[in-house]
């Protein structure tokens, strides 16, 4: 039997997430992936920004750093660069990482610094009350888009790939085993790794978009996500409107802190 209590700060429960929120499922997948990776909890640091997802570190018993809105990645960069022996996990949301933190997100991927970024994509600003985010689908309603959103959305995983990330995967909280597996692979990967995790927000997104029932949202994830192997077999027509999950890219590239170490050693032996 898996002992979750070893990993959580029991005193901080019950958590603050709404009923039907998927963030708790990610928390569970993350804890299981951490355990499977065999990492030392003393050497792990979790950094988050602001938002629902960013409250995750409060529940995990490791070094945790809850920072300012959009800035988790820079703080994490400082931690990792200062002490590359630490395993640094960033927990962030779609608004946090790709709106206010968009610049940091693309540059960390370009720099290819060894961070594992778990980006909970719930298509909305949940904690602030349901405003539009860079991933709110066109036509969806939000508290700042009462007549339906007219802005095109970011393909977050595609953005990370284009910017130079080593490892990019997409997962969702309906397919929990796959989610856990993708997080595990990201933790193992040396370099900038991203797992974009689709997670429902019944309160701030669903309620405004005729999907107030958490079950409906989970069913939507089930019916609209297709994992890598199945995706390959789909025709162009069948892929329409579906979201591909699984590993999207996995490359070996020079990692920032290792390159810095090499440079330092070279300089100091001259």
């Amino acid at each position: 039997m898996f002992n979750y209590l070893e990993y959580v700060r029991e005193g901080n429960f019950p958590h603050i997430w709404c009923s039907g929120c998927g963030d708790g499922i990610v928390l569970k997948a993350l804890i299981r992936a951490m355990e499977a990776s065999g990492m030392s909890r003393d050497e792990a640091v979790m950094v988050s920004g602001i938002g629902c997802s960013s409250r995750t570190p409060g529940y995990v018993d490791i070094n945790t750093l809850h920072t300012t809105h959009g800035r988790a990645i820079p703080f994490a960069t400082g931690v990792k660069h200062a002490n590359p022996a630490l395993k640094v996990i960033v927990v962030t949301g779609d608004g946090d990482a790709t709106a206010i933190g968009g610049n940091h997100f693309i540059h960390a991927a370009r720099r290819n610094i060894d961070l594992t970024v778990l980006l909970y994509n719930n298509y909305i600003y949940g904690m602030t009350g349901g405003q539009c985010s860079p991933t709110t689908p066109i036509g969806s309603k939000a508290s700042t888009a009462k007549f339906g959103n007219i802005e095109p959305t970011f393909n977050i995983s595609g953005l990370a790939i284009a910017a130079g990330a080593s490892f990019v995967a997409r997962a969702d909280v309906y397919n929990t085993k796959q989610c856990e597996k993708m997080i595990g692979l990201a933790l193992e990967k040396k370099g900038f790794s991203l797992v974009e995790i689709l997670t429902p927000c019944p309160t701030a997104f669903g309620r405004r978009n005729k999907m107030a029932s958490p079950v409906k949202l989970m069913e939507w994830l089930r019916d609209n996500t297709v994992s890598g192997a199945k995706w390959e077999k789909l025709s162009e027509e069948d892929r329409e409107g579906k979201i591909r999950t699984g590993i999207l890219i996995d490359l070996d590239k020079p990692e920032y802190t290792e390159e810095y170490k090499k440079l330092t050693e070279k300089l100091r032996t001259v």
Binding site: V47, T64, L65, T67, T68, G78, H81, H104, H107, L263
Partner: protein, 381 residues
Amino acid sequence: MGKDNFPNVRMMQGNQACAEGALAAGCRFFAGYPITPSSEIAEHLSTALPMVGGKFIQMEDEIAAMGATIGASLTGLKSLTATSGPGFSLKQENIGYACMAEVPCVIINVMRGGPSTGMPTLPAQMDVQQARWGTHGDHSIIVLVAATAQDAYGQTIRAFNLAEKYMTPVILLLDEIVGHTTEKVVIPDPSTIELVDRKKPEVTPEEYRPYAETEDCIPILANFGTGYKYNVTGLCHNETGFPINDNSMIEKLILRLTKKIVSNCDDIIMNRTLELDDAEIGIFAYGSVARSAQSAVTRCRAEGIKVGLLEPTVLWPFPKNEVLEMAKKVKAIVVPEMNLGQMAREVELAARCEAVVHKLGRVDGNPIVPDQIVKMVKEVV
């Protein structure tokens, strides 16, 4: 005399002296973003830090640079960032984070004029209030200022020491004249430099509470990765570092953050004085302007005018007792500065009507020269 007689004397730009001072203080992390007139600090440390096993990183923007500086400090490295006016504005949110989470770090701001992008290559002292109140919320802060390259070296060391001692961000202000003037710097023997390191927890990880009440109001933050697993947040938090909503606990936290600085003013505030004892006219000047003021004092004295100078090397906490003391002795105080009276206002408040305060502001990108101060003193007399 040969060079060997002065092995520790070097010609150095103020910005370079900051970088060298940082290394002497034990700084081993720098994150920054290029901006004139501060960039030489980053350039110098980009080559010097790897040579001593330290870390340099050029971030994608000023906000990121401040965030990385805080992250690195939490792993235990003495961390620095340097910037100028607009960059300093961008850093403010995360400076507030460092105040709230009590993370020691040093921010050097080589001031340029503003508002906005203002005057990149001309001197100004327009950020003295931004340094105090730039970040949102009620908070304490320590702000030092340097007048010479020698000062830039020493004040950078002092900034790190105060940051580590009080677990707080410390800001060091230079103006462009100090940052870019190359002049003599005497490098002290490293063994004579007093260094302060933050306290380390003496309890077990199980007993450890990072923000537990201490006699001196200063928390003990364990370095990440040393077995003490704790939470750091910019939200109001309890002694374990977790967010709180309890009103009385919030108040206690904010009051403690202020108290740890304010109750140690005697330790933090430092001033230099010149001919102040029998002065009838006092001058309050800082940064490069203080050098013009020194010259003005000498010239006035030669003409028989009794003038003295109070030169703060710490701007915040403001040396209000020293200003009041001066105000009681003199008839008038002249405050020359490269802004429209940002510190003159503070001097006026502190003087409590004991002396008349005369502003001498300049905002055209030119330095304040001794002649101007002498002229003003004569008008006042």
